[in-house]
């Protein structure tokens, strides 16, 4: 029973050293330590281990800092992959403009084609003529107009 009591306080010592003890327990541990030589000895042995851990000192390679800083400087001088992409490849704005223009043109063309098909009989057109008309008079101009609109600088399309 007495041994169990010591074990529970020694457990509290471990918790205290690990930083996992509550304020209540800490207080009760402090009171116990004031009167218990066995637990005080346990605390002393634990503190000795902790002090020993700080008795290890690893030497740092004297060139390590200089090497690390040289590598960091070199890295900051190199443009990032994203910047390289933007510099040497198609700018993202043009890609976005192309995608937007293409989707708008296709949607518009489908609508115009459906409307034109309804007019084939009263206007005496055949399907090939409707398709050619949609391509020449709607698809190509709308694609070009959308591309110009998206690729233009912000202020030219009313964006501050």
């Amino acid at each position: 029973m007495i041994l169990e009591r010591h074990e529970s306080f020694q457990r509290m010592i471990d918790e205290s050293l690990a930083g996992a003890i509550s304020a209540d327990k800490e207080q009760s541990l402090r009171e116990h330590l004031a009167t218990c030589a066995l637990c005080k000895e346990y605390l002393g042995a634990s503190n000795r281990v902790i002090a020993s851990l700080n008795g290890f000192s690893f030497e740092v390679n004297p060139n390590l800092n200089a090497n690390v800083l040289a590598a960091l400087r070199q890295q900051t001088r190199q443009p990032s992959r994203r910047r390289i992409l933007l510099r040497h490849h198609v700018p993202l704005r043009v890609l976005a403009a192309f995608a937007g223009a293409l989707s708008m043109s296709i949607t518009g063309s489908v609508i115009v084609y459906q409307v034109a098909k309804l007019l084939t009989v009263p206007m005496h057109f055949d399907t090939a003529q409707v398709q050619a008309g949609v391509a020449v008079f709607w698809l190509l101009p709308s694609l070009c107009a959308a591309l110009c609109l998206f690729a233009a600088p912000g202020e030219n399309r009313g964006i501050a």
């Binding site: 690990a18 930083g19 996992a20 634990s46 851990l53 800092n65 690390v68 590598a71 960091l72």
Partner: protein, 184 residues
Amino acid sequence: MESDTRRIALGLRHKDVAVLEILVGRYQHRLVRYLVSLLGRRDGVDDLVQETWLRILERGGSYDEHSRFEPWLFRVARNLALDAVRKQRMFSLDSDVEDGVRSLPASNKPSPYALAARTQDAERLAHSMQTLEPVYREALVLRFQEDLSLQEISMIVGAPVSTVASRIYRGLAMLRTQLEVETA
């Protein structure tokens, strides 16, 4: 603390080499110590240190200024070290202790702990530190040398706080016994 971490976060976001230079000067020694404790060897530690700083430069934008810098630094270093270890397939740091995490095999070369011991008690514990399971050694070093809280250690090692606490208790118990035996 807050203004210091804010300065660090700002510097990292702008990839400011002057800030990195200060950080390298301030944390290099601790980074080396942590990596040695994690790996149980000196070989390859310098390369990992360099890789860690380059990763810090690359991912600096993700550092949260509301938390201390050290845990984040150690976490980055740990991930790189584990990747390197996995590549080398020498041993696993993350294995469950009950399954038997393997320490480094015995070698004729003096261990980094034997070379780093500066006090008599440290000399007595050098062998035990070398043969201690890496998860215990890591927890002890982070708690008692790096002075990190259980929550911070838990964040670094990716284990629950209770697991970290239990690793500290067990590691301490092993070293306490060993020190008593060596002193007797």
